[in-house]
């Protein structure tokens, strides 16, 4: 893990301010953009805690996939039909630029991961990366294999359920 107070306090300030942004923004799109910052900063926290795998999953799922789902649902629900095309381009531009900026932050984070001495980070070698990956493999495929299979079943049920609801035309 990385025990650097500067990174910790900057990330803490960013995540708390962005959470306030989610709470107090009047426009839902601005809330969504603040939420993207919160999710990416959460990935930074995972990274500095020594769990690179969790950080990558957090950035990929919550930083990119979930905001796209929420953004699409906002587009389908919050707009009137007469100005739909015009406003949709506006919303797509805002979301795309936000994702682009945060993807740049993500790349910066990954470059720091490849070369931790770039910013004079004092690194404590409490957590070994290979031990973490070995623990992940043992946990998912041996210790928690039933939980893993249950989540796979849950995902399958969700996909089948949404398909059935869509076909019934509810």
């Amino acid at each position: 893990m990385i025990n650097n107070p500067i990174i910790f306090y900057i990330a803490s300030f960013l995540i708390i301010m962005s959470t306030f942004g989610v709470l107090f923004s009047k426009n839902v799109i601005y809330s969504l953009l603040s939420a993207i910052v919160v999710f990416f900063t959460g990935a930074i926290f995972f990274y500095i805690l020594g769990s690179e795998y969790n950080a990558i999953i957090q950035a990929a799922v919550y930083g990119l996939a979930v905001p796209i789902i929420i953004g699409v649902s906002i587009m389908f629900t919050s707009l009137k039909k007469d100005t739909y095309q015009e406003k949709m381009i506006h919303y797509i531009l805002i979301i795309a630029s936000g994702i682009f900026i945060l993807a740049f932050v993500y790349l910066l984070m990954m470059s720091m991961a490849m070369n931790p001495n770039t910013f004079n980070i004092r690194e404590i070698t409490q957590v070994n990366f290979f031990d973490v990956m070995s623990a992940f493999a043992k946990g998912i495929f041996i210790n928690y294999v039933w939980a893993f299979e249950l989540i796979s079943l849950l995902l399958t049920i969700v996909i089948v359920g949404i398909t059935v609801i869509k076909r019934r035309g509810v």
Binding site: T77, N143, I151
Partner: protein, 101 residues
């Protein structure tokens, strides 16, 4: 000054509390769903923190955090689909109008 376990736990606690308070205050359904995800992020930070500082062998907190991320994404997808279906009938995203399924 070194960063201790309690610093990370405090951040997780702040995120969780802001998620709970925001869920009670906010009127928009989409904002409520985003705040629920922020609560889950606070819980995940606590899991990873405890696993890093208290469990250096099995890293169970990391694996549980992965499960929470998967379940959170599924829950969000289902909730947004239900919201979309109900929005077609209610024509509003105000949560006070969503008092029946």
């Amino acid at each position: 000054m070194d960063i201790t376990m309690y610093h990370y736990l405090f951040i997780g606690l702040v995120l969780f509390l802001m998620g709970i308070i925001g869920t009670m205050l906010v009127k928009s359904v989409v904002k409520v769903l985003i705040l629920i995800e922020i609560m889950l992020l606070g819980v995940n930070i606590n899991f990873v923190t405890f696993s890093t500082f208290c469990d250096g062998i099995k890293f169970d907190g990391y694996i549980l955090s992965l499960f929470y991320i998967a379940i959170g994404a599924v829950e969000l997808a289902v909730a947004l689909y239900i919201f979309y279906l109900m929005y077609k009938k209610k024509q509003s995203d105000n949560i006070e109008k969503y008092n029946e399924l």
